[in-house]
């Protein structure tokens, strides 16, 4: 295991009541890299992210973030990480500004008002920043949620389906903001997604999961070449439906 990896998973396993969600995966993400976790429903993406965040304890194996073992040493690094996920919401009755202020307090952000103003500007939140979060459209909520994930200038950013339920225009706009944040901050980004366009555009590496195992792990370009496909979507379908194994068996 490299001590320099921003995120390092080693033989990570998670079993829930006899069902194996993650079955011994290993990978290392260098600082400043942007990687996609790709896989169908139940492939183990969200469980892997939950273990990286220290939210779920691995059944066996280890995971470390910025040199800290998760979940045992999570409080050494949680203030340097952040995440966005469709599985959580922000309190609906609080306004966007109030929510951002509370999370700025939790993450120990210096000069929270200035940071919130900057993010409101970058993510175009100004028109609805004093509106209750529950009254926003799903696109607006996602923008707020992504803005929250950048409040503390995270060095490690975990994104679980960050553009799910967004229209193509807003999704593209959010991707642009994430790309810019990564370029400026040099943060390490791990992105779980079903959206192949998003993965092709943002990620330099793709880890393909199937039934809790890593089926493939390479750059988008090399994956396309290896599977002889034009798009990552076709590669995804090959992996999901086991076409590669079938083709290799036939050969």
């Amino acid at each position: 295991m490299s001590p320099r990896a921003a995120i390092s998973a080693d033989q990570l396993v998670k079993v829930f009541k006899g069902t194996t969600a993650v079955a011994g995966i290993s990978f290392q993400l260098p600082p400043g890299s942007i990687t996609a976790l790709l896989g169908g429903n139940g492939a183990g993406k969200t469980t892997t992210i939950a273990m990286i965040m220290g939210l779920t304890v691995p059944t066996s194996g280890t995971v470390s973030v910025l040199g800290a073992q998760m979940p045992q040493q999570r409080y050494q690094v949680l203030h340097r990480m952040n995440f966005e996920s469709p599985y959580v919401d922000m309190p609906m009755r609080l306004t966007v500004r109030q929510n951002l202020k509370v999370f700025a307090g939790l993450y120990g952000v210096e000069d929270p008002d200035a940071r919130i103003a900057t993010l409101a500007d970058e993510f175009d939140l100004k028109d609805f920043i004093d509106r209750p979060t529950g009254k926003l459209s799903s696109g607006q909520k996602t923008r707020v949620s992504v803005a929250k994930s950048l409040l503390n200038h995270p060095e490690v950013l975990l994104l679980d389906e960050p553009t799910a339920s967004l229209d193509p225009d807003t999704a593209d706009w959010v991707r642009g903001r994430l790309e810019r944040y990564r370029a400026v901050s040099g943060a390490t980004v791990l992105l779980a997604s079903h959206n192949m366009t998003e993965v092709e555009r943002l990620c330099e590496r793709v880890i393909m999961l199937k039934r809790g195992r890593i089926e493939d792990d390479d750059s988008p370009g090399r994956l396309l070449a290896r599977y002889g496909r034009d798009t990552l979507e076709e590669v995804f379908l090959d992996v999901a439906r086991g076409r590669r194994e079938a083709r290799e068996a036939a050969q």
Binding site: P31, Y75, H79, S85, L94
Partner: protein
């Protein structure tokens, strides 16, 4: 970007402040939540106040014993409302699907619990001060006339309420909203044995030792000693404090164990039923 590793302060008043601010914003934005804090204690004080007036029409011991009814009711409300204030603030996170955000933030369990204790006090002040005023105005019961004894009663009852609140929160973390009803009912489990409205001697002899295992029993016996016999029983208050220390530590331990169990089961992200 900084070199690893960095550490952060282990207990942060700023993070507690941020959580208190979160609940304050919520309370401010919702008048039904504020009304809910006041209306039930108000109904209780009116009911028990009128019963007390009726009992006071008799003479002798019963008249004096009757005077404890409204005091007992007010003290019980401190325990029950204190626990409810703690548990409801916790439930707000589950109802809002915000628990995952908090659990993946640098907020530590002790800070979360401290914020819930602060909110329990704030909600108690909002709910009970108008009720104390009504008790004084309509029934002549001035809770502050209990003097420094009231401080002992209050501290012991709020500690018991927090112990119950911490245990309920741990069960909610582990079992999700399926355990929600515990937040509303668990305190009532100890009501009969705590001897709120009657002395311990009323209980069958074999049950009395169990009653003395509960800190509120000491408080309510102390209240009766003060109102009926005009004696402050420091021994009872110390007994309650000792038991409360044990229960509070046990509840905190159980909370941490249940939180760890929730991490193992992966239930922190899905906090539904």
């Amino acid at each position: 970007m900084s070199a690893y590793p960095q550490t952060q302060v282990s207990f942060s008043p700023h993070r507690i402040g941020a959580m208190v601010l979160r609940y304050w914003y919520l309370l401010r934005s919702s008048w039904p939540r504020v009304v809910e804090l006041i209306y039930w204690p108000m109904v209780q004080v009116l009911t028990w106040g009128l019963i007390q007036i009726y009992v006071a029409q008799h003479s002798g011991f019963f008249a004096r014993a009757g005077a404890t009814l409204i005091g007992a009711m007010l003290l019980w409300e401190i325990l029950f409302r204190g626990q409810l204030g703690f548990s409801i603030s916790f439930l707000e996170e589950m109802w809002a699907r915000n628990l995952g955000n908090l659990m993946m933030s640098p907020l530590r369990p002790a800070e979360f619990v401290a914020a819930l204790m602060v909110m329990s006090l704030l909600r108690l002040v909002i709910g009970m001060v108008p009720v104390f005023i009504v008790a004084l105005a309509f029934f002549g019961f001035n809770v502050y006339q209990l003097g420094f004894a009231f401080v002992f009663f209050f501290v012991n009852l709020i500690l018991t309420s927090w112990s119950i609140g911490i245990l309920v929160s741990g069960l909610l973390l582990r079992h999700g909203l399926g355990a929600e009803s515990l937040a509303w009912t668990l305190a009532f489990l100890i009501l009969p044995l705590s001897c709120v409205y009657y002395p311990v001697s009323v209980l069958p002899e074999w049950l009395q030792p169990f009653s003395w295992l509960l800190p509120p029993t000491y408080v309510f016996e102390g209240l009766r000693a003060l109102v009926i016999d005009r004696v402050f029983r420091a021994d009872l208050m110390l007994g309650a404090l000792a038991l409360n220390s044990v229960y509070f530590a046990a509840a905190a331990f159980a909370f941490l164990r249940l939180l760890e169990s929730a991490r193992r089961q992966g239930t922190l992200m899905q906090t539904g039923e």
